[in-house]
Amino acid sequence: MYVYDQYDQTIVDERVAQFRGQTARFLAGQLTEGEFLPLRLQNGLYLQRLAPMLRIAVPYGLLNSSQLRKLAEITRVFDKGYAHVSTRQNIQLNWPQLEEVPDILAELASVQIHAIQTSGNCIRNTTTDQYAGVATDELEDPRPYCEIIRQWSTLHPEFAFLPRKFKIAVCGTREDRAAIHAHDIGVELVAGDSGEIGCRILAGGGLGRTPVIGSVICDWLDKKHLLTYLEAILRVYNQNGRRDNKYKARIKILVKAMGVDAFREAVEQEWELLRDGPSTLTEAEINRAKSFFTEPPYPALDDAAARAGLAEQAAADPIFGNWVKRNTVEHRVAGHRIVNLSLKATGYAPGDITDGQLELVADLADEFSFGEVRTTHQQNMVLADVRMDQLYSLWQRLQRAGLATPNHGYLTDMICCPGGDYCSLANAKSIPVAEAIQSRFDDLDYLYDLGPIELNISGCMNACGHHHIGHIGILGVDKKGEEFYQVCLGGSQAKDASIGKILGPSFSQQDMPEVIEKLLSTYLELREGEEIFLDTYRRVGIEPFKERVYARAD
């Protein structure tokens, strides 16, 4: 993974010092709340319902074991002993004290972590595929480009006060695991006509109040132009994006208003000025970035023997076998598997992890996966490089710690924002809805029979829980001070991305498990063969689901 040199460390240390000064000025009354607001947001700090929330950046979801241990220590010393993995692959603390945040940031800086631009109207943490570098369908590892974008976007002087937040995702695989269509800019590594790998650039995607799928604005771009092209897009947006209405301020609204062709033309025109300038990437810089994401020293393993051994263990212990089947994924390198750690055990808020679990994961990373861990935008964690012949001992340790729930990709592996229990933006609680659904559908055989389903829950229009792109999406809404839940169907974050369609009038919290039950039984009755929920929905449309859910009792 990327390692800071003296330059990176200086920038992060100076940022901590700057924020320490800003916090002191705010507490001394020298900085108004209005002035402090964007400054603290750009350091990841929200003032929430019960306490501040600090969002810590995990660039493209990569952490090493010493960073995990530091995070565990911070949750213990400054917080309540747990942290939360967000849908931007970041880590959130729910109970820090405002006065102590500069100290937390200094602790983080000591292990090369920061909270820069994890909120605010600026370029946010760049996200990517949690299986980057080990996926079997990968064209090229996206992480070097994520790191290049991270550095370019960090404290960018021109783009710190954009009309609205700005999110970039990069993917380098056939299957899109980074939801690039739902981002302000999506970068996809693709082969051009000559076979050379370059970037396809999408712009104008985004969730929130008006969900939009991104449009291709450049089919193939030489990688050396990546930063100048991004700069051109941001510059068009910064000057022309709406600033009169925050609900119409995202780049998606600008792209729609101008039309994709006119937007592309404006970008190309701006790019003429920047193209081939000093920000053009050099071969040396791309290679430097790549040098941090080289292959770990994998042992040479006999794949067939490893698989046979694993099959034997799986047969001897079916619970283990089931976990292997559900929570581990094919690895690029012989004799290895990718392991998903589920942070979706029933009874715990989706994405939450305790200090003890963080430390255990750090130990397991050191023992089994070259000391590295990934966070995922589905709010889980990944050990990416585990030997097949070590899966059994890893699983035993995970199971004891409650991190081996075999539900990866199934209904109960839901995405869920912190919602009204914590977040001051939320219209409704989301965690109790998630918990009620998890409790109702805790029968594993039933879950597996349902097949892969993505259920996403957001507590408000800001859509942190990505409800629009869940196969089933749930949105908390406020109706005259009461919490209700709107359901949408048919969203997808894959390459054939789609925005879910609203089912109809919203439901009370207590009705939600029943509503989900009806949706699922409708699917089970209508599905053909091995069809997954999304495909059945796409074939039969929303009507049969609507009829069932809103059928009168008589």
Partner: protein
């Protein structure tokens, strides 16, 4: 009159503030964009851009303009940062002045985008604004103050 920071020092302002509604504008007075566009003698003068007034009409005349001021009615409206870079990247060499309600925490960004003069609305704490120029000693991106990105300078 609000104080002025130029070349890292607090100095006297030689320009008179703009009056967009005035029919005639005196020598030494900053012009609004409309006044400048309608002026018979635009050479050697100063012009003020507001958010939403992209600098494009000035691009062909940059050598004739002495000073361009960019107003920040609220500090969260960041259009002026791009306007400044657009002007500098197209070769504007005169004074580029940030005016209005920007805050000291933006000083580094403003300078990096090409501003060399700063006239905050609240003149009382000019020293704080000056100090804000020292928040960072290093940066990743190419900008006006440092045209080479860090990746071309690392060793």
């Amino acid at each position: 009159m609000p104080g002025l920071i130029k070349q890292g020092q607090i100095v006297e302002d030689n320009w008179l503030p703009a009056d967009p509604d005035a029919a005639t504008v005196g020598e030494g007075q900053i012009l609004s964009l409309d006044q400048w566009l309608n002026s018979e003698q635009p050479s050697g003068r100063a012009v003020m851009l507001e958010p939403g007034q992209a600098p494009n009409p000035l691009f062909d005349h940059l050598e004739r303009i002495s000073m361009i001021a960019i107003n920040f009615p609220v500090f969260t409206d960041g259009r002026g940062f791009s306007y400044a870079r657009e002007l500098r990247e197209r070769g504007f060499n005169g004074e580029l002045r940030a005016c209005g309600h920007f805050i000291r925490d933006q000083m580094t960004y403003l300078r990096r985008c090409g501003f060399d003069a700063f006239q905050p609305a609240e003149a009382a704490h000019l020293e704080d604004y000056l100090a804000g120029l020292n928040d960072f000693s290093e940066s990743y991106q190419a900008a006006i103050d440092q045209p080479l990105p860090l990746f071309r300078r690392r060793n």
